[in-house]
């Protein structure tokens, strides 16, 4: 191969890379490749933490994600709702992200209907609260103070599911579905240590490595990161495959990632080979 070609390859127009990446995502969507996978230890710990919650108890879910992180986190969010409702666990939920309510409320309503759960008795959504760390601190201290009404304006005192749950430590488990800040990091820093809370986190692939130290230190009882984390959780919740009317969104997307990752690795390897050949040739010329 000519040296010029290798140099041109290293400096190729990035639109070719974009095209290749587009095809690497599109083709496996059209022709799915399904490969088996083992569940990550941190996701297993998250699943086990939910399993340990006694049936009939109430957990708190902070659904802190928006449209940008939705593809990675919605599959986990759906899977965990299946898991909780199936175990007859009640849910009190809120969000610190203004873009979350229109995304999460329809999912709650859909799955609550599927499992015959009633709003106010089996689950509630307290809506959005601004203030970031202040709101988290307030969830730790006094939830009705931070959220006097739910997302449709009902006073929290009138919600049966809220009775006996005044602050974060009243819940046996807090699940934070975190697309970024404010999210898991802020929950851990503001209230986990102070109230010795059991917090589990599902987060984006980008944030995952940031939260591993929290998991290793026992500040998080479980961690699902990115599309792989969501796919692993789906596998745990539906070990025999999805029931009728349920799509395993992350499992499908996980297999799409195979080709995407392979494409980037091939690009890097090819780029380095071209780099070494041209560098050696330049050294010989010199």
């Amino acid at each position: 191969m000519k040296l010029d070609t290798l140099i041109r390859f290293q400096n190729m127009d990035r639109r070719w890379i974009f095209l290749g990446m587009g095809l690497a995502i599109l083709i496996p969507m059209l022709v799915p490749i399904t490969l088996p996978f083992k569940v990550d230890e941190r996701v297993q710990a998250l699943y086990d933490a939910v399993e340990e919650v006694p049936n009939g108890s109430t957990v708190f879910i902070s659904a802190d994600f928006g449209p940008s992180s939705r593809p990675e986190l919605e599959p986990y969010f759906r899977a965990t709702l299946h898991h909780l409702f199936r175990k007859d666990i009640k849910i009190v939920s809120a969000t610190l992200w203004p873009s979350a309510p229109p995304l999460v409320v329809p999912i709650y309503e859909e799955l609550a209907e599927r499992y015959g759960k009633e709003y106010g008795r089996d689950w509630c959504f307290l809506g959005y609260k601004d203030g970031k760390e202040l709101a988290i601190k307030s969830i730790g201290e006094n939830i009705p103070n931070a959220f006097p009404k739910d997302h449709v304006g009902t006073p929290v005192g009138e919600l049966e599911v809220m009775r006996g749950y005044q602050q974060a430590k009243d819940f046996p488990l807090i699940i934070n579905v975190s697309g970024g800040a404010p999210g898991t990091r802020e929950y851990v820093l503001q209230i986990q240590g102070q109230y010795d809370l059991k917090i589990a986190s599902a987060t984006t692939a980008v944030s995952g490595p940031d939260y591993i130290p929290f998991y290793k230190a026992g500040q998080l009882v479980g961690l699902a990161a990115g599309m792989p984390g969501s796919a692993h959780y789906e596998k745990l919740v539906f070990p025999d495959g999805p029931p009728e009317g349920v799509r395993l969104l992350a499992t499908q997307a996980y297999n799409v990632l195979n080709v995407g990752h392979a494409f980037i690795i091939l690009l890097i390897v090819a780029g380095n080979l071209a780099f070494f050949v041209t560098r050696r040739a330049e050294e010989q010329e010199a």
Binding site: S68, S99, G153, N272
Partner: protein, 213 residues
Amino acid sequence: MRSTLPLILTFVVGLFMVGEFFIPHWRYHMWTQVFLEWGFILAAAAYVLGLVNLVQVNLPKVLNKEQDWPYKLIMLAAIATMMIPGFIGGETRLQDGQMYKWLFDFVFVPLDATMFALLAFYIASAAFRAFRARNLEATVLLAAAILVMLARVPIGENLPVIGTKLVQFMNWIMDVPNTAARRAIFIGSALGAVATGLRIILGIERSHLGTDG
């Protein structure tokens, strides 16, 4: 007095909120809740200030047709387009059939998701150009990146002979060097935050008052 009173307020409130971690008495917590409530009100007021500031900065530029004025006009129009249906819809704005819900579902969601999805393309391009084994450090970074990328997806896990070892090695990278580096960063930044907090509480750092101190 103009600068002394805010300094006294900062000192008292700052110290009071720190004390909350060490004094678990219910009366103390009752007062910290009051402070938190004030914080919510201030945070909400910041939105209003932000909106006023955006209009104050951008509207004159649009009226005077300064550089990039069409973009500023689009931004102001976008703010109005989301805000007005939100106010009109009130409590029902998130119900199907409401204009705010329609704008959220069919404008905001696709745009926000697209912005994030574009990262895949830019990361592919940046990885191709930046990951070159030019020296030892770059080679270690490159090897770690390839290994983690491969082991994170089933294709790597299912590689014959080395698949399981690959996943174990990836987990070691994430659990040991990654955790060590991030803990160092966390602890370093936490100590920095403590120092900055003390400087503000003690009035040494006064930039929040609009002065360099």
